[in-house]
Amino acid sequence: MAELATIARPYAKAVFDLAKSDNTLPQWSRMLAFLAVASADPKVRTLLDSPDLSAEEKSSRLADVCGDELNDRARNLVGLLAHNKRLDAIEQIREQFEEHRAEEERVLDVEVITAYELSAEQSEKLRAALQRKFDREVSVTGRVDRDVIGGAVIRAGDTVIDASLRGRLDKLTEALQRN
């Protein structure tokens, strides 16, 4: 069985290309986010998973739930997904759409995990350094986790820079345990 991400890929690419040519990237972002949230709702979920409803009924109900948030093209997307029985993939489509958009606009979301809240100055310094390293417009989100003890763990997608005291201690533990 193919994974949802694999299924979602061509849809995300198509939506992105469309949005790019229309210059409606932010609008599509909003619509997809709304769709993702709506379809994740337990009540809507039961509706979408129901075997009693036809594809047309499902798509029109989901579109109704979203109301004015969707434009005609987004409604068409929902119709297409329902027809292809791919309504499950909406969340993945949104994620991949956002990845495409970040790549296009050369921005990068970076999560910085520290033991204590970063000061504005520290945060700015870190942002500038990361911007140089990744060659992207970086937006930093901070998170506080006492487990880190000191230093910081920086996460950008798959890439992780572990400069925390916890990480060093873990490495030390491992080195000492090795025979």
């Binding site: 994974e3 694999t6 996460r155 798959d158 890439t159 820079i161 025979n179």
Partner: protein, 514 residues
């Protein structure tokens, strides 16, 4: 009571802490999305390479084998019970490596090169990737030096050269491992380093082999790589490659090494298990499509390399020496069926095979090698002249004997010539019997075979042949020690050698009566 172990001395701990390299570097991380029977699926890890080591929490490692668009399939090298969905996994940027070097001689290690014999850490300075590409055409040299196995039947009929791949094939419990162990024992003084790779075997069997090797003083130049039946399938799959890298260390330094894969059938089973769990399509006998490549890439690495290659690899440290890695893979057949998938594959890859037959084994002919179906495609040119000249007629005599024996069952009276040929064959076959753990030197084998080919056994009853041989060799050792040493050293065959042998055998025969 809790005990301190030797590595916990504070000085050692201090040194380790000092030498620890802790700097932050960008790493690729992924999340485990599924764990099943030693196979882990990981989301993320976009930078993973094929065969790369993947690190899991708790110092556990895996090997990336399936690289797909959205996930990576990893086999776990070790205990996978502690892993669960949602844990993070990291790329290490390293292809799987094992320690190599002289420090491993005399040791028993697992498939990752960790010592499991309780003799302390290895302290090996070098490591090598387990998967390497075999030397190319330019780096190779033809096989022209012998590996003496020490068994009359093998060294005379299917001689093995340094750098050759000779398959040992036969049913279970028929003496395949016995030949391999004899081969190792005979390298005690030959300078050939041995690597014994045990795949999917009982740990008790492996312990027995190690003890046997120790008893015969052969363990000092032997490395045992053990991936027992209780080890996870990935360990059994990589063990032969790991052993091969350890052997290549010697080959690439202008030395000779002998590696035994015991056995590749079980390695193919382990690989089949991994492949099916990784959801690769099954083919014939449910093996994956690349099971031929599994063995061919392993056996290609056994080779003889020329002096230029050795000089290049060692950066000029070793000059003018060729290196070799000889491989003796073992394959187990079911009821003598050599036309099954894996046996045919390996037969076609190797430079010949030693085929062991259940009938011969049960008839008391041990080693139970079948002279008709066993061949060595390159070893003949590697034989020492002494052995080549003397053993020339042996295979023919046995082949003719078997044919005649089948016919003569129906004949009531035989003519004199046929009867003599039958009797000669019977004696040669009897002479091919040899006890386990009693390898013979070139001179011993030569003298004993010479007595058969020259007809000195004609008046010795068949059941006394081995007794005659024993007596003759004891006589040669005491009365002609210098001659024996000389033959072992030079391997020369000329009129003087023949004359001395004739004279000695006649003298011996005069002293005994059968």
């Amino acid at each position: 009571m809790q005990q301190l172990n030797p590595s916990e001395i504070s000085d050692i701990i201090k040194r380790r802490i000092e030498s620890l390299d802790v700097h932050a570097e960008a790493q690729n991380e992924g999340t485990i999305v599924g764990v099943s029977d030693g196979i882990v699926r990981i989301h993320g890890l976009a930078d993973a390479q094929y065969g790369e080591m993947i690190e899991f929490p708790g110092g556990l490692y895996g090997m990336a084998l399936n690289l797909e668009r959205d996930s990576v399939g990893v086999v776990i090298l070790g205990d996978y019970e502690g892993l669960s969905e949602g844990m993070t996994a990291r790329c290490t940027g390293r292809i799987l490596e094992v320690p190599v070097g002289r420090e491993l001689l005399g040791r028993v290690v697992d498939a990752l090169g960790n010592p499991i014999d309780g003799k302390g850490p290895l302290n090996a300075s070098d490591t090598a990737a387990i998967e390497k590409v075999a030397p190319g055409v330019i780096a190779r040299q033809s096989v022209d030096q012998p590996v003496q196995i020490g068994l009359k039947s093998i060294d005379s009929m299917v001689p093995i050269g340094r750098g050759q791949r000779e398959l040992i094939i036969g049913d279970r419990q028929i003496g395949k491992t016995a030949i391999a162990v004899d081969a190792i024992i005979n390298q005690r003084d030959s300078g050939i380093k041995c690597i014994y790779v045990a795949v999917g075997q009982k740990m008790s069997t492996i312990a027995n082999i190690v003890r046997t090797l120790e008893e015969h003083g052969a363990m000092d130049n032997t490395i045992v790589v053990a991936a027992g039946a209780a080890m996870p399938a990935p360990m059994q799959f990589i063990a032969p490659y790991a052993g091969c890298s350890m052997g290549e260390f010697f080959r690439d330094r202008g030395e000779d090494a002998l590696i035994i894969y015991d056995d590749l059938t079980k390695q193919a089973w382990a690989y089949r298990q991994i492949s099916l769990l990784l959801k690769r399509p099954p083919g014939r006998e449910a093996y994956p499509g690349d099971v031929f490549y599994l063995h061919s890439r392993l056996l290609e690495r056994a080779s003889r390399v020329n002096a230029d290659y050795v000089e290049q690899v060692t950066n000029g440290e070793v000059k003018g020496k060729t290196g070799s890695l000889t491989a003796l893979p073992i394959i187990e057949t079911q009821a003598g069926d050599i036309s099954a998938f894996v046996p045919t594959n390996v037969i076609s890859i190797t430079d010949g095979q030693i085929f062991l037959e259940a009938d011969r084994f049960n008839a008391g002919i041990r080693p139970a090698m079948s002279p008709g179906t066993s061949v060595s495609r390159v070893g003949g040119s590697a034989q020492v002249p002494f052995m080549r000249k003397i053993s020339g007629g042996i295979k023919l005599a046995l082949a003719q004997y078997r044919e005649l024996a089948a016919f003569s069952q129906f004949a009531s009276d035989l003519d004199e010539a046929t009867r003599r040929q039958l009797q000669h064959g019977q004696r040669v076959e009897e002479l091919m019997k040899q006890d386990q753990f009693k390898p013979m030197s070139v001179a011993e084998m030569g003298v004993s075979l010479f007595s058969a080919t020259e007809g000195y056994l004609r008046d010795v009853p068949v059941d006394k042949v081995l007794e005659f041989e024993q007596g003759l060799l004891a006589y040669m050792k005491s009365e002609h020690a210098e001659f024996m040493d000389n033959v072992n050293e030079t391997g020369a065959y000329n009129d003087d050698v023949v004359a001395e042998m004739k004279q000695a055998i006649e003298a011996y025969k005069a002293t005994v009566s059968f």
